[in-house]
């Protein structure tokens, strides 16, 4: 990156360090931080959406919907996350390829499974082998995103369901007594008030989601943890920049990154909680009323 970086072996310490930290592979590490943030920014609203749908399904008057919601929530909550992170992307990937195979290659006469091999025709590959590398990355990232949304959606569904039940029933009844339909009472009374009950659970989920992002590494996405391990390992004379095992420093950096993330989030949630508690029939809301009175 800098003009003096041509021969790392002869550089004085600080220049060596400056060059070392700006190699292309270090930029890949810095980029991977953005990948993690992007995943969080997309997975959180998706999971919240899944959770909201899940909570509505569990509360639904329709027995089929209720069953679907209950099975989803209890199944995901009852299976180790890591199993889902390994299973969901694989199942979707092979499922999509299988379906595309059936549609795109009807004349194919060999079985899809041959011994250990999973074989679909070249046109059914997802993405196609001829697609550029970024398409493969986007596809892998999307699969990971779906897995995160599914798993965290189930937890969010349980939290939101609990929050909906926590809003005093008398308030909804009052709304109905004023002639609101159940849907109106839900929208106007229950929905605005449930968040204060949901927030502690949701902020918990957000923290766990933040801390679960290193699981990306399992799905073959090169995240911060991957690069910390890759760059921190001992570099022998095969590399331009040789150094002993520096993983402890790299992992310390990753540790600081995650701690900063969760600390910042906690600050944000504290302020949000204060806003939502305003005028609520909760202990926090009551304390605020007394303070101003």
């Amino acid at each position: 990156m800098f003009s003096f970086c041509t021969d790392p072996a002869t550089l004085p310490d600080w220049q060596w360090m400056a060059c070392y930290l700006t190699t292309a592979s270090h930029f890949a590490l810095y980029r991977s931080v953005l990948v993690v943030l992007l995943l969080l920014a997309m997975a959180a609203p998706l999971a919240l959406g899944m959770g909201f749908l899940g909570a509505l399904a569990v509360r639904s008057a329709n027995p089929v919907l209720r069953l679907v919601g209950k099975v989803y929530v209890s199944m995901v909550r009852g299976v180790p996350d890591i199993i889902f992170f390994l299973f969901v992307p694989l199942a979707i990937d092979q499922g999509v390829e299988y379906l595309r195979h059936r549609v795109l290659c009807p004349e194919w006469d060999q079985p899809v499974r041959q011994g250990n091999d999973f074989i679909v025709c070249a046109e059914a590959k997802m993405p196609l082998a001829s697609d550029p590398a970024w398409m493969h990355d986007v596809w892998g990232f999307s699969l990971a995103l779906i897995a995160f949304a599914l798993v965290f959606g189930a937890f969010a569904a349980n939290t939101l369901h609990g929050a909906m039940n926590a809003v005093p029933r008398a308030q909804v009844e009052t709304g109905e007594a004023f002639g609101m339909t159940p849907a109106q009472a839900f929208r106007r009374i229950l929905l605005p008030q449930m968040w204060v009950y949901a927030l502690p659970g949701l902020s918990n989920l957000w923290m766990i989601l933040t801390k679960a992002t290193p699981l990306l590494f399992l799905l073959g996405i090169q995240d911060v943890v991957f690069w910390a391990r890759e760059l921190g390992g001992q570099k022998t004379g095969h590399y331009d920049y040789t150094h002993p095992d520096w993983r402890v420093w790299y992992f310390l950096g990753v540790l600081a990154f995650y701690l900063l993330m969760t600390w910042g989030s906690q600050k944000f949630f504290d302020r949000l909680m204060q806003r939502l508690s305003h005028g609520q029939a909760t202990a926090a809301g009551e304390a605020m009323r007394k303070a101003t009175a």
Partner: protein
């Protein structure tokens, strides 16, 4: 084409964030000779065979020895490097007895992990080769068993801190390209390309370029 990208000088990621190494050069040349358009994919060693049979890539070139156990799941081309001897590496002054009764580190799912399991020594496994070396340096393991050609750089650059305890022959037919068993056609294509590189001496030149003058070459 799948590779691990963490096994210098076979295959690794350099500072420019590019896959480089003996197998990358070799694979590109084989593809050129076979008129194939090839793209490299980096994959964790532990899942490198499942992702091959799952169809995420069509070949493995990752310092993989063709052994009988692996041949039950995938097929192999002819070898492009004669069987690497394995070597025990330890801190200088370590008693050779640890090979039979000590704690030996090896990368998981390697032939060396299997070899250690058959001795009286305790095996501890790590997902990457780099971590096995770190385990020896910090005393978690008494020695590491791995391909000698991988370890030799670490020994030479350690200023006498690390040394070889013993060199032992490895099982298998040598380092080869791993392919799906249903992919006979591709296997024949690569075998022909390897033949042509063995015949004109370009494979030997590449071996010497990456592993040094002492590497065993093809006749």
């Amino acid at each position: 084409m799948g590779t691990e990208g963490a096994y210098p000088p076979y295959n690794y990621i350099n500072e420019s964030n590019e896959l480089v190494g003996f197998e990358i050069d070799l694979g590109n040349e084989l593809c050129r000779r076979a008129n194939l358009t090839c793209e490299w994919v980096q994959n964790d060693w532990d899942l490198i065979i499942p992702n091959l049979v799952g169809g995420n890539y069509d070949t493995i070139m990752a310092g993989m020895n063709a052994t009988e156990a692996r041949a039950e799941v995938i097929s192999f081309s002819q070898n492009y490097k004669v069987p690497d001897p394995s070597a025990y590496m330890a801190l200088a002054g370590t008693d050779a007895g640890v090979m039979e009764s000590g704690v030996i580190a090896a990368q998981s799912n390697t032939i060396q992990a299997g070899m250690v399991a058959e001795t009286g020594a305790t095996l501890i496994e790590f997902p990457t080769a780099d971590e096995t070396i770190a385990a020896v340096r910090n005393g978690t393991a008494d020695a590491v068993l791995a391909d000698r050609d991988f370890l030799v750089t670490y020994v030479n650059e350690s200023n006498g801190e690390l040394e070889f305890l013993a060199v032992v022959p490895s099982p298998g037919q040598g380092v080869s390209i791993g392919l799906r068993q249903s992919d006979e056609e591709l296997r024949a294509t690569f075998n022909a390309a390897i033949d042509s590189m063995k015949a004109d001496g370009s494979l030997n030149a590449m071996l010497i370029q990456w592993f040094g003058e002492d590497v065993p070459v093809f006749e």
